[in-house]
Symmetry: C2
Subunit: 248 residues, 2 copies
Amino acid sequence: MSGLRVEALPGLPEIRDGDDLAALLADAATRLPDPGLRSGDVLAVAHKVVSKAEGRVRRLAGVEPAARALALANEHGKDPRLVELILAESAELVRADAGRLICRTHHGFVCANAGVDRSNAGADDLAVLLPADPDHSARALRARLGCTVVVTDSFGRAWRLGQAEVAIGLAGLAPLEDPRGTPDADGRVLVATHVAVADEAAAAADLVRTKTSREPAVRIRGLERHVLAEDGPGAAALLRSRELDLFG
Amino acid sequence: MSGLRVEALPGLPEIRDGDDLAALLADAATRLPDPGLRSGDVLAVAHKVVSKAEGRVRRLAGVEPAARALALANEHGKDPRLVELILAESAELVRADAGRLICRTHHGFVCANAGVDRSNAGADDLAVLLPADPDHSARALRARLGCTVVVTDSFGRAWRLGQAEVAIGLAGLAPLEDPRGTPDADGRVLVATHVAVADEAAAAADLVRTKTSREPAVRIRGLERHVLAEDGPGAAALLRSRELDLFG
C-alpha cells in the first residue's frame, strides 16, 4: 500500500523581484507539522512566485501597444497593453475567440493569454509573465532545496470546463510514467498509456490551496517511485508537437 | 493550513458482472491504516471496476463488425470488432488519425476510442466500456458508502503528452470551484478561473496507483471544503459544449 501526503507550505511573504525564493521556501517548510524538505519530496510551486522572484513582471503603464495589439484588443474587448504583452510572449496566436487569446508560447505551451496574468500580480497595473525558462527555474530551485521541484500553472482543457494545474517546469521527476511493455494485472501487455505524472502531481498540489490565499508552494510526500536521481528531461518533455496534436 | 491524505484501498478482488461493488469497497476500506469511509471522504474509483460490476463488458468474439467498422479498422490497423464497439459507444467520430479514434461518447465525453479499453479487461478477448451513466453509478455508490464518489478514466490532452485521470462520474463534490467575484490576496477581483476540482481529485488519486496493480479505488481525506451535502450536478457539469470548445 502506498499513500501521499499533500500539504501547503504556510506563511510565505509576498514575493518580489530579486527575492531568494529558495531560502523563503526552505524556511516556510520548517513550519510544516513534519518539517523540512528532503530528497524524495516533491515541491510544487505556482509559477507566479517564481516569475516574481525572477523579475518576470511588467507594469502595464509602461507598455506601448503596437497596431496588432490595438486591433486584437479592440476586437476582443481586452486591454491593449495586456495584449501587447501576450503577443510578445507568443510564438503563435492559435485562436482568438470570446475575449480570450489562445497562444503557443515561446516555450511551446498552448494556453490562454500566453500565461500572462493580472490576478495576484501584486498591484492592479502589473502583469505576471511565465518564467523565461521554467525547467531552468525548477532545476535551480532543486539544486538549492535538495528535493524535486515542479513549477505549475493552471491550463484550460479542450472539451472540458475548468482549469487544472499542470507542470510547466520540472526537475527531479519523471514527467511521464511509461507502463508500455509491462503486463497488466491479467498478464496482458499494456499499450499506449503514458501517465502524465508531473501534471497529476501539479493537480494534486492545487487541491490544498485556495486562489485567494498565499500558499503557492505545496509539499507532496509519497511520490518517491517517480523521483529521479538527476534533473531529468523537464516539463519540455510533456509538449506534444503540432503534427501530433491528438488526444490519447 | 490544510492537507490531503491520498491512499489506495488494498486488496480488492477481480470484479465481475453483478458483484456488489459498494460492499467490496467498504470492506477494502476497513483494511486502511485509519479504517473506513465517512462523510467528507472522497473515494475515487477507476471506472473499469464500475463497468465490470455493471456488466459493461463485451466479448470480442461475439461482435459482428459492420461495413463502417471494417473500413475504419482496415484504414487504422485496428481490430474491426473493437472498432464496432467503439462506434456503438460514440455519438460522433471527432477524428481518426494515427491508429486512434477520437470520439464523442453518448455521454458527451471526447476521448480516445470512446473509452472502450481492452487492458485490464479480465481476459484477452474482452473489452470494457464506460458505465452507461457514470453520474448515476457515482450516486448509487455514494448512497451505499456515505462518502463522496468520483468515477474516473484516463484522458489524453490536446497539445500535451500523457494521460491524466479525470472525473467521468461524480456524486457529492463540487465539480468546479468558482472563485469569480472573490478578491485575490491583493484585493483584486479574480475573473475567469474555475478550478476543475473533480478532475484534480481524480488526478491526485491516480498518483498512488500503478496501472498493473489491482488498486482501482483511492480514498482522499482533506477535501471537505468541496464536499456537498447532496449529490450535486455530477461530472456532466464538466462537459464543454462544442461551440465553446476553447481553452481557458
